[in-house]
Amino acid sequence: MDAVSQFFHAIPFDLILIQTINGIVTGMILALIASGLTLIFGIMDVVNFAHGELFMLGAYVGVVIVATTGSFWLGLIASALIMAIFGAALQIITLRPLVGRDPLNTILATFGASLVLQNYALWQFGPVSRKIPEPISSRFTLFYLQYPWYRIVIALLSAAIIGGFWLFLKYSKFGIWIRATAQDRVMAQAMGIPVPLVYTGVFALGSAMAAASGVLFAPTTGVDHSMGLDWVLKAFIVVVVGGMGNLGGSILAAIFISLLEAYAAIWLDPSQAVIVSFVVLILTLLFRPTGLFVATPK
């Protein structure tokens, strides 16, 4: 009996609760990034290596706009719009000429784009990380912590954006075009859907979502030129674990992996906690290569 009670005392329940909240918050940001990535993959067969850089550039655009206008919410919306235009341009320049070639070419092209963008950010903004002040500075007490409300707002906003995006896919005309193209590209084209426009639109949409998550994330730890790679790697893991091209799966996987990493960070160094998500990926590949959150293929 003594051993049992000692065991329960050894579990830091307060830490676990805090890390649960942290994990969900990070998970929602990750879900926002990963849903753009999985959308682009599902529709265009393009693994967008530059997605992390779109996230990072979106955050930088947000930093600049917030610094000049002082309004965080304006920064969020403007950054999403600017990055949508930028994403469309990127798609037209680098990916449109590659339509119909081996999908591996598109990995290489987006990889080249990510190198250019990352180094551009380093050159333009320097190696020092920038920060946006939190738009909502009030906090609530969570055990011994003063937990910022803003983080809760991040999670809710991300959920709202993903929900809005889902409704858009489900009910809007363009959304129906997107889903039709995802199902059967040739048939969609035969039905008169402008498939090249859908491609560009999807890329722009994914970029806007990445930019929005970048701006939302910026106040928590700051923005630097190398943050894109960390996030795109996590998003890749999420997309593989959730099942490629599966929106619901990647959202679940994002929260799942972020929670695991958050719990692991209780006992491990945060940089080593990443290994947990790698392990999840390896196990997924071993036992469910099609993804954890999809129906078993027959």
Binding site: V47, T94, P97, L98, R101, P103, L104, N105, I107, L108, A109, F111, G112, A113, L115, V116, Q118, N119, Y120, L122, W123, L229, L233, F236, I237, V240, M244, D269, S271, Q272, V274, I275, F278, L281, I282, L285, L286, P289
Partner: protein, 332 residues
């Protein structure tokens, strides 16, 4: 049985030399130039050329996967890095013996390659690329955080071993002998890899590239061929890592980082995949551009911006790479 066109000796030029003769003459000419180069070049460019050869070996190893098996690996930095750390560890912990370093480096790379190959070859195309990338990041995180053994961010520093050939030769490396040593290893690796790609085994790899389901249908154990291919590739990448460690007398975690893998892929695409020599040319082209750009635009200018743009343009307009036009000829 009638003779197929491939069996006939094909006179390529009007002189009437066979393809094989032209190939070997070309090989010897290039070798003579590369052997003579360090005697003529100043110290900086001598080291530069040696490094290009090492990067070329790394790129060539990854060409076995990209160009011949049709799997794009974004994780070659793991093999390269483990070769590097294996060699450094052996040199620090045991004796400063060149061959021991090579042995340990290759063992390190082979273990990594076995691990990566076992998991990643279950997947194809894009999934393979992502998985190898993530695996290389696992090794990066381990090396970066396991400070007690790997030195963490600072890496490992050691003294360069002697160039020691039992009973024959024992002296310190100079930059010239270093270059020759690297050249011998790289040229040897090229010949071995060329032999591999032309062997029946290599033919199976190429048929996996062309049509995997059909290769499986013929009855080849595709998964095993892929694993062996990843392991061979990892082994040669590890060899490149050992050479790099010996040349620069250190092992650092940045070389295990994803950027090294990315640059390896860039060398391949720039030089021409599926040619084996193309990646070396690509590495030379990339490094030369980088050097010239930083000379003209200053050290602070991020050379990867113009190089990245060149890279994207080459994917769109010149997907065969610089040596792509000679691909068929080089592989005959």
């Amino acid at each position: 049985m009638t003779a197929t066109p491939l069996d006939k000796p094909m006179p390529l030029s009007k002189v009437g030399l066979s393809h094989t003769a032209i190939f070997w003459i070309g090989f010897c000419v290039v070798m003579v130039i590369l052997i003579a180069a360090p005697l003529v070049l100043p110290e900086f460019w001598r080291r530069f050329l040696t490094e290009v050869l090492i990067w070329g070996l790394l790129a060539m190893s990854s060409d076995l996967l990209i160009g011949y098996t049709g799997m794009v690996s974004f994780g070659h930095s793991a093999f390269f890095g483990l070769g590097m750390y294996g060699a450094s560890g052996a040199l620090i912990a045991f004796s400063p013996n060149l061959w021991l370093a090579i042995l340990f480096g290759l063992t390190g790379a082979a273990c990594t390659a076995l691990f990566v190959a076992y998991f990643s070859t279950r997947l194809r195309d894009i999934y393979f690329a992502i998985t190898t990338l993530i695996f290389s990041q696992i090794f990066y995180v381990i090396i970066f955080t396991w400070t007690r053994v790997t030195g963490g961010e600072n890496g490992l520093i050691f003294n360069r071993p002697h160039l020691w050939i039992p009973f024959i030769y024992d002296a310190r490396f100079t930059s010239t002998t270093m270059h020759w040593f690297v050249l011998v290893v790289v040229a040897g690796s090229y010949l071995i890899l060329r032999r591999i790609t032309q062997s029946p085994f290599g033919m199976v790899l190429q048929s996996i590239r062309e049509n995997e389901p059909r290769t499986r249908a013929i009855g080849y154990p595709v998964a095993q061929y892929k694993m062996v291919s990843v392991m061979l590739s990892g082994l040669f990448a590890g060899l490149a890592g050992v050479l790099y460690a010996v040349q620069n007398e250190f092992a650092a975690p940045n070389f295990v980082f994803f950027l090294t893998s990315g640059e390896t892929v860039i060398y391949n695409v720039m030089g021409g995949i599926g040619t084996l020599v193309g990646p070396i040319v690509g590495a030379g082209f990339f490094q030369l551009m980088r050097e010239l750009l930083s000379r003209f635009l200053g050290d602070q200018f991020p050379y990867l911006i113009p190089l990245g743009i060149v890279f994207i343009a080459m994917i769109i307009f010149l997907p065969q790479g610089l040596l792509g036009f000679a691909r068929r000829w080089l592989n005959r």
